[in-house]
Amino acid sequence: MAHSSRERTLWTIGLVAILAFALVPVLWLVSLSLKTPATVGDGSFVPKDVTLDNYTALFEGGFDSPLLRPLINSMLIAMIATVIAVTLASFTAYAIARLDFPGKSLVLGGALAIAMFPPISVVGPLFDMWRALGLYDTYPGLIIPYLTFALPLAIYTLVAFFREIPWELEQAAQVDGATPYQAFRKVILPLAAPGVFTAAILVFIFAWNDFVFAITLTSSDASRTVPAALAFFQGESQFTAPTGSIAAAAVLVTVPIIVFVLIFQRRIVAGLTSGAVKG
């Protein structure tokens, strides 16, 4: 499709504006991460004295380095929580969108209520529960609360999308000769994909970013995730904020997110093939 050069110019301006909006604070973080302790407070956007020390310090000590174990923990815990949450939410959303059974509003309302309760009140009793059950400082100890608090959002998102799927297409495909499995795979799945991948991204980022549960329910690198690990970073003295190393850590842990999103963003809009709905 041909686009006039005016169109291209407008789009370029628009894209640059959006990129600036999204990335200027990130570039600021990158800048802070490259500054020496002497210049971190000099107020300039571009570092005058560039150093990679903040980054190398993060991986000093091999496996015991300040960032490596937490990074691995974060990735694994977020991925496991995402897979389980999206699966469970899909089942539930499918049931709510397609089937008729009592208690639907209860499930939806209850899920919402759970998502609304301030986490800070929940972590106290949860701490006690987990210590009693031996889940303190373990992967399941974090995955389970993440599931609980991400499920409502995942369920609501998937219900909203599943409602919009024209389920009759599945039957139409079967009438045309497809097996139930083929119908599901070729017709329904692509229509469900945008919702599922959206829910996956949202759950992943929720688990990735959480601080309250992570700092309370972990006590060592066995399960501590990155946001909690950042709280342990020290500057040169008790009073000095470790600005450079925290900025470096924040930049580094954004890389997996970028990868994750790059993979999934195409999926979100892979949705409809043009023939599916018209029939």
Binding site: A38, D42, S219, A231, E236, Q238, F239
Partner: protein, 414 residues
């Protein structure tokens, strides 16, 4: 075997173990002091104990509030994996009243109090009993630039006048005015320097009107002065340091960590830096500098209190105090350590000022179990300090008194 290896990695699940020739493992919960000083002295004491105990570290987050949060959760759950606690000086009353730390046994008390400044011991007492063992102290000095100051100001008013004369390009004063504990430190020391105290007993507010209003007026005057740093409403020890190193400041009230920092980060400023005692509020009354530092508490739920107190006694020995000062620049709590020649290398030209400052220091109301309430009340009443009218501090005084009274009774929202 596995447990020892795991304990070496600091996993909380193993509280203690008897697998090392009959000795016990003591878990010391403390923030990871960047200089590594606690780890050094802990290693020495473990060796000296002849196998009776070994000190392992369980690190807490970097910020004091988060350290407390972690500790309180565990102590509230009667966790027996905590033996030694690196306590901020203001937690004593709270932890003691809640029954989370043990009083120091008499024999140990004598040993760890010898030659220790009374102001330091005050921070470790609750209901006049010693509940913690002071290991290192801290205080704030008036740091100034030799090249811009002819006569070192003795009072806050003098300092403000001098700074205003020098002008905003080079004459800023750096303090801590953010809504956090640092503001409570500033306010408390101003009030103490003016001759009164915040509380006179666990539930009695003192805050005599005259002196308090004088103190508040000075705070207001500084905050509204052109010599105040533009970010005074959010200034902390770290931003104050950064501001001073940036070159536009002549005066700074801060802890001694700024000295090695300037040496590393701002050599031109470092050449001009000098120290004096915390300024006075009243010209004819000695100022009351702040006191900080760390006290070692022994958890009430520890399975090895005897070994823990033994370890604490070793950790705060005079030689170890010197080691800690050498490694981390952290001021000793015993006044006789200041007589040692090595101290001058650590604090060139201002060792004596530090000693005097700690000697004359006035603690925050740490004996009160409701300290956090008091702290919140003071923060709320005084922040932002630019709201304090130097010509009419009565309004702020009333609010302060109101909030503090609410705090000692622990009523209402704060």
């Amino acid at each position: 075997m596995l447990c020892i290896a795991a304990c070496a990695g600091g996993i909380a699940a193993c509280g203690d173990d008897d697998g090392d020739g009959g000795g016990v493992t003591l878990s010391w919960f403390i923030f990871n002091e960047p200089s590594g000083a606690p780890q050094e002295v802990a290693r020495d004491c473990s060796q000296q104990s002849g196998g009776r105990y070994r000190i392992e570290f369980e690190y807490l987050p970097a910020e004091a509030d988060q350290q407390r949060e972690q500790l309180v959760r565990r102590l509230g759950a009667e966790d027996d994996s905590i033996d030694l606690i690196g306590m901020d000086v203001v937690w004593t009353g709270e932890f003691a009243n809640a029954g989370w730390i043990r009083p120091v046994p008499d024999a140990t008390r004598v040993a760890v109090s010898e030659n220790v400044f009374d102001s330091v011991l005050e921070t470790a007492r609750f209901e006049n009993e010693l509940y913690a063992v002071p290991i290192w102290s801290n205080t704030q000095l008036l740091w100034y630039r030799k090249d811009r100051v002819d006569e070192v100001p003795r009072t806050w008013d003098d300092m403000i006048e001098q700074a205003e004369e020098i002008g905003p390009a080079e004459g800023r004063i750096q303090v801590q005015g953010n809504r956090y504990e640092g503001l409570v430190v500033w306010a408390n020391q101003m009030i103490e320097s003016a001759g009164t105290s915040v509380v006179s007993g666990p539930e009695e507010v003192l805050l005599e009107r005259g002196p308090t209003e004088r103190a508040l007026a000075v705070m207001g005057r500084l905050s509204r002065s052109p010599a105040a740093a533009p970010n005074i409403a959010t200034s902390t020890e770290d931003t104050a340091r950064l501001g001073f190193e940036g070159g536009d400041s002549t005066f700074m009230i801060n802890y001694p960590f700024v000295y090695p920092s300037a040496k590393d980060n701002a050599p031109e400023v470092f050449e001009q830096i000098a120290a004096a005692k915390f300024p006075r509020v009243d010209p004819d009354r000695e100022s009351a500098p702040p006191i900080g530092g760390i006290n070692i508490g022994v958890s009430s739920f520890s399975d090895h209190p005897d070994e823990a107190f033994e370890a604490a006694e070793c950790l705060v020995g005079a030689d170890n105090q010197l080691r800690v000062a050498e490694l981390g620049g952290l001021p000793p709590v015993r006044s006789d350590v200041y007589d040692r020649p090595e101290i001058d290398a650590i604090y060139p030209d201002f060792a004596e000022i530090i000693r005097e400052s700690i000697r004359d220091a006035a603690p925050r109301p740490s004996q009160s179990p409701a300290y956090q309430d008091l702290s919140l009340a003071i923060q709320r009443a005084l922040s932002p300090t630019t709201d304090i009218d130097p010509g009419d501090p009565g309004r702020t005084y009333d609010e302060l008194r109101d909030k503090v009274e609410q705090a000692v009774k622990r009523e209402g929202l704060l």
